[in-house]
């Protein structure tokens, strides 16, 4: 098994310590950071996404693998920046104003990272101007609005309107998701993308970026 395969396997197993050791070993042996990211970490996270989508693993396993992914990415971050690495695109994710649920949003972030996107996590209780700022000043081309409540999902309409009123609507792809959100609702508020789950959303963004 190659080093890159070992990294992917350790990530799928959720073994953070092993991922850290292998990524460090790879850098010492002269493997490029981009190779370690794309063919080690991202490949592992992609496998996690597939297993989760197929119902083979569940949220705890995804979270543990994501912890390993984050630990490995952190080591590679500085090298990637100095190498001039460009992610596929930037995505700003958040749970909308009035809502503090963050697991669904975090899972979306993990799946996007697993596809090679740079994820700006705006956190929870996110207002429209924070999304606007991420697009205007941080280069986000996609935004993801998450909500778990019927009451808070209504705020997604305000976010879309705010982009329209600032003349930025055509500069960004807006996705909506969360337990009460449906395709019907997403269309009604003027969002561009709705999917039932995090894995499909990441795949959809990837297709849109190509």
């Amino acid at each position: 098994m190659t080093l890159l395969e070992q990294i992917s396997e350790a990530l799928v197993d959720g073994n953070m310590k092993k991922v850290i050791l292998l990524v460090e070993q790879g850098l010492e042996e002269g493997v490029s950071a981009l190779d370690l990211l794309n063919n080690g970490l991202i490949l592992g996270m992609d496998e996690i996404g597939k297993l989760w989508n197929e119902g083979e693993i569940f949220i705890p396993e995804v979270l543990v693998s994501a912890r390993a992914m984050n630990a490995g990415s952190k080591i590679l971050e500085k090298v990637l920046v100095s190498d001039g690495f460009e992610p596929i695109s930037k995505v700003a994710i958040g749970t909308v104003k009035g809502d503090l649920h963050d697991i669904g949003k975090n899972l979306v972030g993990m799946m996007l990272k697993g596809k090679g996107f740079d994820v700006i996590d705006l956190g929870v209780d996110v207002k429209a101007d924070q999304y606007i700022d991420a697009v205007k000043n941080q280069g986000a081309e996609y935004i993801v609005c998450s909500s778990l409540l019927t009451t808070t999902m209504m705020y997604m309409k305000d976010i879309v309107k705010e982009f329209e009123s600032q003349g930025l609507r055509n500069d960004v792809v807006i996705a909506c998701g969360g337990a009460p959100v449906t395709q019907e609702f997403a269309t009604e508020v003027g969002a561009d993308v709705y999917t039932d789950d995090a894995v499909t959303l990441a795949q959809t963004f990837l297709q849109m970026s190509q």
Binding site: V64, K97, T151, P180
Partner: protein, 364 residues
């Protein structure tokens, strides 16, 4: 206005016969996990024209006044039982946001989804675990003694074991990591929590004439289970089975509330001995589908999707509620109500519309 009902005729024995599948009812029976206090207050003031007394713990007179109102609301809206909860409190971290939707409410409190209050063995030992002698069954006893004739008491003293562990003690992310880093400690936390919840039910059974347990424990999300079946069977469903056994040993029913798409443990819910399955969301696992798959094996409660209950206009809501009843009433073993609970953002008009559809529904 149909409500308040002038001459309600609750009959908890009839209700229990329907739950057990002995009778196919000639009227629509009602059931809710809860109606939020903000809505109870509006009903009290605007429908019953009674003074409202907020729920509180210390002053027993005011505490009794609160429950008098709750009993009257359920009685005058046509229910056969009152569910009483909160007998045990697990200390937690809470966060607050601005409330966006509910008149009169400015803040909404949240529990953590990340880390909980127990992160290792040391914090497990030092955590202020509730003590069995601190279990407060006063509300159960008061309601039990003050129910109108024909009504029954149903108890649900706390969140479910999974919810207590993932929302309060370990946090969802914290528990996920701990399952990998220290699975023995996860097991200890579940045992400690389960023992405490079981003790509450044991105490309540001894002290009241309750007719059933109504225990919530969310295990799914929109498209599937949050945890593997193996995990749920070991840490969660085994405790629900113990509670269901305790209920049945005492001649009571076990109502199981759990949200999300639980298709993968549909059979396990039957096997643990639940008499009633509650909580249905159209976008996860609808009451329509559940009725087709399990309607002859277990009684269903609820099914009116909360999103629709909160947002639909009157005409659409009536059509939808009739559709739920047309699908679920044939064959019996159905108790009508909201898919989850009547939340504080459900307009009173919509709640009463849902009830009125039930009152007027006739077999075709």
């Amino acid at each position: 206005m149909v409500y308040p009902l002038k001459n309600p005729k609750p009959d908890i024995n009839y209700f229990l016969d329907v739950v057990h599948g002995k009778i196919e009812p000639d009227r629509v029976l009602l059931g809710e996990l809860k109606v939020d206090d903000e809505l109870l207050e509006v009903i009290c003031k605007e429908v019953l024209h009674r003074e409202w007394f907020p729920r509180q713990k210390k002053d027993l007179i005011k505490r009794a006044q609160y429950w008098d109102n709750v009993i009257e609301v359920y009685y005058r809206l046509g229910y056969d039982f009152v569910r009483v909860g909160r007998a045990i409190t697990f200390p937690t971290k809470e966060f607050i946001t601005q409330e966006l939707a509910v008149a009169g409410m400015t803040q909404r409190k949240w529990v953590t989804e990340g880390d909980g209050v127990v992160t290792d063995k040391e914090s497990f030992e030092s955590y202020a675990w509730p003590k069995v002698e601190e279990i407060d069954t006063w509300d159960f006893r008061y309601v039990d003694e003050h129910l109108p004739e024909g009504m029954g008491l149903v108890i649900g003293p706390a969140k479910g074991i999974l919810e207590v562990v993932t929302e309060i003690i370990l946090g969802f992310t914290g528990m996920s990591y701990m399952l990998y880093d220290d699975p023995d400690l996860v097991e200890e936390v579940f045992i400690k929590t389960g023992d405490l919840l079981y003790a509450v039910y044991e105490k309540a059974v001894k002290e009241t004439n309750c007719v059933g347990f109504f225990q919530g424990d969310d295990m799914g999300y929109k498209t599937g289970l949050m945890f593997s079946k193996k995990f749920l069977k070991k840490y969660v469903l085994s405790w629900h089975k113990r509670l269901a056994d305790l209920a049945h040993e005492n001649g009571l029913i076990y109502i199981m509330h759990s949200c999300g798409n639980l298709r993968k443990i549909g059979d396990e819910i039957l096997e643990l001995g639940a008499d009633v399955k509650h909580s249905f969301e159209d976008s996860a696992w609808s009451v329509f589908d559940y009725k087709l798959e399990y309607g002859e094996k277990i009684t269903l409660m609820g099914g009116v999707d909360v999103d629709k209950l909160a947002r639909y206009e009157e005409k659409a809501l009536k059509e939808y509620c009739n559709k739920v009843l047309d699908a679920c009433m044939p064959g019996g073993r159905y108790i009508y109500g909201s898919g989850n609970s009547v939340t504080n953002y459900v307009p009173l008009k919509n709640y009463l519309t849902m009830l009125e559809v039930g009152l007027n529904w006739k077999r075709k």
